[in-house]
């Protein structure tokens, strides 16, 4: 059956400029199939990735919408004319609390004290009084009051985000102070959430700080997020990152994402309603143990300051509605090269959480999803000694080799007098430096890597290799406090 399909003007480029194409088929669906077979470039503009006709594309058979006939199964007769007619749809990005407050009159007013505090914002047309009142109406939740949470908390509070929630359950540690600028020495040992609340209330008394001293998990995330307009991800682990993403997608909220490692950082806005989500970018977490945490791999102190500030910038733009938000774009920052790169991100049409046909419609067990930590390597108790025991052996003058398998950087921080450094990755190649007949006491920071070394050495015939339980950390605590802990 030969029928004519009328091609809309903008799509004629894909049909060799033909306004009409003669095709064969017994039904509307078959005729359309023949059309895209003849002109494959049309396919993506008429059909979505799942093979269904795009929602805005309508087919008219002799001036009648086939939706009112038998849809794509509508039979056609020779000489019929089929027209492709778009319905035109579109619109602005999503609906959040401050956006629904469209009538500027319904936004909260600024007091004279607030006007003084925010004057440098108010005189810019991109923010102005209307933008500042949107900020005051906005509710932002930051996950984590650590490296990223510090600049986020400081800048969002300073900028006048009216309700600023923070989730954290950790305690301030001395090793936090090189990057977590929310805290000072007087905060060491205090719960982060309390120290942060005090600091931010001092910075801006006009806003409401809402401390949530809880461990975020699948049981409380939806409840916690529900009251907020924007969620900011300042977490340092994969289970929480996926949890934050999925909860935001399920609630339709933007997730302003940032992550840091050593000298590199990433920033984006994941917003399932407007663009891709974290799962579109990383459908699966990396195998457990593959990507080290900052505690294991280290991080440049200023890096979270840079990345967290970029996140704060995106949060403020989202609320005020200024500029181009970082939706569908991933910014990569390299502090050593001092280079920013930008990657375009696409929404994954088969994304399990944010696509049109999600396979996951609730939160899951994210610890399980990301895999449990790699099984801790242990050695038999008989092949292990304690720090005081090692001290006694050394004092007796027993002949033994103290083998340190840590990284050279760790060696530079502290070491046990008279020990030999062979970093674990080099051990296989440098076995010749060790005497198979001697007693070898292997040590690392806390006893894990050295246990791996002992098991390897014993396999290789070093039958007198033993492990220092608790590593140099135990040595410092139990034997020699002059050895610094790190």
């Amino acid at each position: 059956m030969s029928v004519t399909i009328q091609i809309p003007t903008p799509l004629r480029r894909f049909t060799g400029d033909h306004g009409e194409v003669a095709v064969d088929g017994a039904t509307v669906g078959e005729a359309m199939q023949d059309l895209t077979r003849r002109h494959p470039a049309l396919q993506r503009h008429l059909y979505a990735d799942d093979g269904a006709l795009r929602s805005f594309v309508n087919l008219f058979l002799n001036d009648e919408d086939v939706r009112h006939l038998q849809k794509e199964g509508t039979p056609i007769a020779a000489g019929d004319t089929l027209s492709i007619i778009p319905s035109i749809a579109g619109g602005a990005p999503g609906v959040t609390a401050w956006e629904t407050a469209r009538e500027v009159d319904s936004l909260p007013q600024l007091s004279p004290a607030e006007i003084r505090h925010y004057s440098r914002h108010l005189i810019m047309p991109e923010v102005g009084t209307a933008g500042q009142r949107k900020l005051k109406a906005a509710k932002v939740l930051t996950i984590g009051a650590g490296g990223l949470g510090s600049p986020l908390g400081l800048y969002l509070a300073a900028a006048g985000v009216g309700t600023l929630g923070m989730v954290d359950f950790d305690v301030v540690d001395e090793s936090n102070l090189h990057r977590q600028v929310l805290f000072g020495r007087s905060s060491v040992g205090r719960p982060k959430i309390q120290a942060a609340t005090d600091r931010l209330r001092d910075l801006n008394p006009h806003i409401k700080i809402v401390p949530h001293e809880v461990r975020l998990d699948s049981s409380n995330a939806l409840e916690l997020f529900r009251d907020y307009d924007v969620v900011v991800d300042g977490t340092d682990n994969f289970p929480t990152r996926y949890l934050v993403n999925d909860a935001c997608v399920l609630l339709g909220k933007p997730n302003v994402y940032g992550s840091i490692f050593r000298f590199e950082g990433q920033v984006s806005i994941f917003w399932g309603a407007q663009g891709p989500c974290y799962r579109c970018l990383f459908p699966e977490p990396p195998p457990p143990g593959l990507v080290p945490s900052c505690a294991e791999g280290g991080v440049l102190g200023v890096l979270p300051g840079i990345i967290g500030s970029l996140q704060a910038n995106e949060v403020i733009k989202l609320i005020v509605g200024a500029g181009d938000p970082l939706i569908g774009r991933l910014v990569l920052f390299d502090a050593l090269k001092m280079k920013f790169r930008e990657l375009k991100l696409r929404k994954d049409p088969s994304c399990p959480v944010c696509s049109d046909h999600p396979t996951q419609t609730g939160l899951i067990d994210y610890e399980q999803f990301c895999g449990i930590e790699p099984h801790a390597e242990t050695v038999e108790a008989a092949f292990e000694i304690s720090a005081p025991q090692l001290k006694a052996w050394l004092d007796e003058g027993r002949p033994l080799t103290v083998l340190d398998v840590r990284n050279p950087q760790e060696w530079d921080i502290c070491r046990i007098e008279g020990s030999t450094l062979i970093p674990l990755p080099e051990l296989q190649d440098r076995l010749g430096e060790l005497d198979p007949a001697s007693t070898i006491v292997s040590l690392c920071h806390s006893g894990m890597r050295s246990a791996r070394a002992v098991n390897f050495l014993r396999q290789m015939g070093y039958s007198r290799a033993i492990n220092l339980a608790g590593g140099i950390e135990a040595w410092s605590v139990q034997v020699d406090p002059s050895v610094p802990r790190y």
């Binding site: 795009r54 619109g91 990005p93 609906v95 509605g321 200024a322 929404k347």
Partner: protein, 147 residues
């Protein structure tokens, strides 16, 4: 680089339509001619229509296929085409949303008017790339009415 040529009067009509519809979205047709050789779209007249959405009119608009058919006929009667559409983003930047991208075709101009607090803040025009990956901004050129 693509260019959209529109008279000051037509552009003013689009902007006034956007401001008057605030806080809801407005929409309409750009009737004119696209010249592939010069990558120039000349808008000859604008055709405002009503937003046919029943809900979420503050951030969604809809023009039914019947209205599109009527606009096509009107354009053809003038020897012209529907060269694009315009719509407004109340309290949002004049850049296309992901929703806009999902509902667009290449080969057309998509003019977006940003209206902030009832006043027109920005007007920009966009074209969908052939691979549907992104919108690319086109230059807007305002010309005085020829007649």
């Amino acid at each position: 680089m693509f260019t959209l040529e529109i008279t000051a009067g037509d552009l003013q009509a689009v902007r006034e339509h956007a401001a008057a519809s605030y806080p809801e979205e407005c929409c309409g047709f750009l009737i004119g001619r696209f010249n592939a050789a010069t990558a120039l779209t000349a808008v000859v007249r604008v055709l405002p229509v009503s937003n046919e959405r029943q809900e979420s009119r503050h951030n969604r608009y809809l023009i039914s296929p019947e209205t599109v058919l009527a606009a096509n006929k009107e354009a053809r009667a003038l020897g012209l085409d529907v060269a694009g559409y315009y719509h407004s983003h109340p309290d949002h930047p004049a850049r296309p949303s992901e929703f806009d991208r999902d509902h667009a075709w290449p080969g057309l101009s998509y003019v977006i008017v940003s209206v902030a607090g009832g006043r027109v803040a920005d007007t920009r025009s966009w074209r969908l790339s052939d691979d549907r990956e992104r919108f690319e901004e086109e230059e807007m050129f305002q010309k005085e009415a020829a007649s």
